[in-house]
C-alpha cells in the first residue's frame, strides 16, 4: 500500500481560537471548524511528512486508539478535508513552495 502525503491548501484562511481551528474554504468562503483530531492533522500537514508518520507521532499519543485504526480514520478524514479543498493529498511529497507556513496560537 502506498503512503499518503497531506498538505494544507494554500488558498484557505485559517486561525486557531482556543484550540479550535477555524478554516475558510478558498473555493466558496464556506467556514468550517475542525475537531481536535482534524486540527492536529491540519497543523502537521506539511506536505513532506507521510500520513502514517503523522498518525504515529501526533495522533496516537493524544488518543487511546490502535495505530491501524487511527491511520484508517485519518485517511478517511484527510480525503474528506480534501473534498472541501482544505487539504491537498498525494501519493508523492507535495512541494513546500505550494504549502503555507504553519501557524498556531
Amino acid at each position: 500500500m502506498s503512503r499518503l502525503f497531506v498538505a494544507r491548501n494554500p488558498r484557505v484562511a485559517a486561525r486557531c481560537l482556543d484550540g479550535e481551528m477555524m478554516i475558510m474554504s478558498g473555493r466558496d468562503s464556506t467556514l468550517f471548524t475542525l475537531n481536535r483530531t482534524a486540527t492536529i492533522l491540519w497543523q502537521a500537514a506539511d506536505g513532506t511528512t507521510p500520513l502514517d508518520e503523522i498518525v504515529q507521532s501526533k495522533i496516537c499519543p493524544e488518543f487511546d486508539v490502535e495505530p491501524a485504526e487511527a491511520l484508517h480514520d485519518a485517511e478517511t478524514l484527510a480525503r474528506e478535508l480534501a473534498s472541501h479543498e482544505i487539504l491537498q493529498i498525494s501519493e508523492e511529497p507535495i512541494a513546500p513552495a505550494t504549502a503555507l507556513a504553519g501557524e498556531s496560537r
Binding site: 488558498r11 484557505v12 484562511a13 486561525r15 481560537l17 468562503s29 467556514l31 501557524e103
Partner: protein, 369 residues
C-alpha cells in the same frame, strides 16, 4: 453572518480576541473623492518590515479577518509583498480599493494569493457622475474593466456605493450594473466626517426624502413594512447588549500604526510602533472604556423609541462629542425609516423652541419710522 461565523464571533468576544481588523496601508490615493474623510499626504507610513511585524503580532493575537484598505492600497509599491505575507499567515484577506490600478496581471495575482473578496467603490453607472465624484476622468471605465478582470478570475467582487447629493438618482443604476457584471453591491447613505473632526463634508449628505425613498425600496430592504416598523420597547436583554463590535471583536490600524476601535471611531488607543498590538487591544484604557459601554449606558438613546434597532454608530457619536451620546446621522435614518423622530431630535427641537427671540425695541422701531 453565517451561523458558524456568528458562533466564532461569540467565542472571540468571550475570549477577548480581535477577530477582525481593518489595516489601512496608506492614506495616499489616486482619486480625490469629494466626500473622502482622509488627509492624503504621507505623514510617515509604516514600512514593509513594520507591517510584516504587525501581521505576525495580529496572527498571534488571533486576528482571522484582515481587511486591507486605504487610501488606495495599490499605490504602495510593496502591496503584493504585504498581501503575500498576510496570506502566508493564513489571514482571511479582504481588499478595499478603487481598482483603477488592477489590470489582468494584478487580477491573476490576487486570485493566486487566495483573497476572499474585493470591495470596489462605484458611485454611479454614468461616467460623468462617478468621475465627477472621484475627480479622475475615466475612473469609472477603469474600475469597471478591473471588475471584469477580477470576475474572469473567479473572484468575489462587491461594489460599494456611498449615497450623496451628487449620485442620489443613480443607486438603482449602480445596482443594475452590478447585476449585469454578476457581482454583489452595497449602498451606504452615511458620509463620514473628516478624521480631524472637520464636518464640512456632511453637507454632501442626502436629505430626508431621499433616505425615505431608499428605505422603501424593496430591492434594497426586502419587506418594507418590517424594515420601517418602529421597534418594540427595549427589554433588559437589549439594554445590556453591546452598541457594536468596535473594541469587542474588531479594531482599526492606521498607516502610521495608530490603533482605533474602528475606522469610523478616531479615538487613539495606542501605537504599534511603541507597543505590542495585543497589549493595546487588551490593556489600553481607551479600548477598555469603549468595551465597557452597554446600550443602557447611552445618555439620550435609552429614552428613544428606536433604541433596540437603531443603526447608531458609536464612532459618529464620538465625533459629535460624546461616545455615549446619539449619532445624529443615525437619528435621521431612523426618522426617515419610521417617521418617528428620535429622542435626540425631540430634545433638539425643545432646545430650539426655548431660544430667546430677538426683536427690535419698540422705541427704536417707532423712532426710525
Amino acid at each position: 453572518m453565517s451561523g458558524l461565523l456568528q458562533e466564532m464571533t461569540e467565542k472571540a468576544l468571550a475570549l477577548n480576541i480581535p477577530l477582525s481588523v481593518q489595516l489601512d496601508l496608506t492614506y495616499r490615493c489616486n482619486e480625490r473623492c469629494v466626500h473622502c474623510y482622509l488627509d492624503h499626504d504621507d505623514h510617515g507610513e509604516m514600512t514593509t518590515e513594520e507591517i510584516k511585524h504587525l501581521l505576525d503580532e495580529m496572527a498571534a493575537a488571533g486576528v482571522f479577518i484582515l481587511t486591507l484598505s486605504g487610501g488606495e492600497i495599490f499605490v504602495r509599491k510593496d502591496f503584493f509583498e504585504i498581501l503575500e505575507y498576510a496570506r502566508q499567515r493564513t489571514f482571511c484577506v479582504k481588499l478595499k480599493t478603487n481598482a483603477i490600478l488592477i489590470g489582468e496581471a494584478e487580477a491573476a495575482r490576487i486570485r493566486d494569493l487566495g483573497v476572499e473578496s474585493i470591495q470596489i467603490s462605484i458611485y454611479s453607472h454614468r461616467p460623468e457622475v462617478h468621475d465627477g465624484i472621484t475627480l479622475v476622468r475615466g475612473s469609472l471605465e477603469r474600475s469597471l474593466d478591473a471588475i471584469r478582470f477580477l470576475k474572469s478570475q473567479g473572484l468575489r467582487v462587491v461594489i460599494a456605493n456611498v449615497l450623496m447629493i451628487q449620485n442620489v438618482q443613480d443607486y438603482a443604476g449602480v445596482r443594475s450594473l452590478a447585476e449585469e457584471l454578476g457581482v454583489e453591491s452595497t449602498l451606504d447613505p452615511t458620509i463620514t466626517p473628516m478624521m480631524d473632526g472637520n464636518r464640512s463634508v456632511l453637507s454632501l449628505s442626502v436629505d430626508q426624502s431621499a433616505l425615505q425613498q431608499v428605505f422603501r425600496d424593496t430591492g434594497l430592504v426586502g419587506n418594507v413594512d418590517e424594515f420601517c416598523a418602529v421597534a418594540a420597547p427595549a427589554d433588559e436583554s437589549a439594554l445590556s447588549s453591546l452598541p457594536c463590535s468596535a473594541s469587542h471583536t474588531t479594531c482599526y490600524v492606521s498607516p502610521y500604526g495608530d490603533v482605533f476601535p474602528c475606522v469610523q471611531f478616531p479615538l487613539p488607543t495606542g501605537n504599534v510602533r511603541k507597543q505590542r498590538f495585543l497589549d493595546i487591544w487588551r490593556y489600553s484604557d481607551q479600548m477598555n472604556e469603549v468595551r465597557s459601554i452597554r446600550i443602557k449606558d447611552l445618555t439620550t438613546c435609552t429614552q428613544c423609541s428606536h433604541v433596540s434597532n437603531c443603526s447608531r454608530c458609536p464612532g459618529l457619536a464620538f465625533m459629535e462629542g460624546n461616545m455615549r451620546g446619539p449619532s445624529t446621522q443615525d437619528c435621521e435614518k431612523s426618522f426617515a425609516r419610521t417617521g418617528v423622530p428620535s429622542a435626540n431630535m425631540l430634545s433638539k427641537r425643545r432646545a430650539a423652541a426655548n431660544l430667546v427671540q430677538i426683536r427690535a425695541l419698540p422705541a427704536l422701531a417707532s423712532a426710525s419710522a
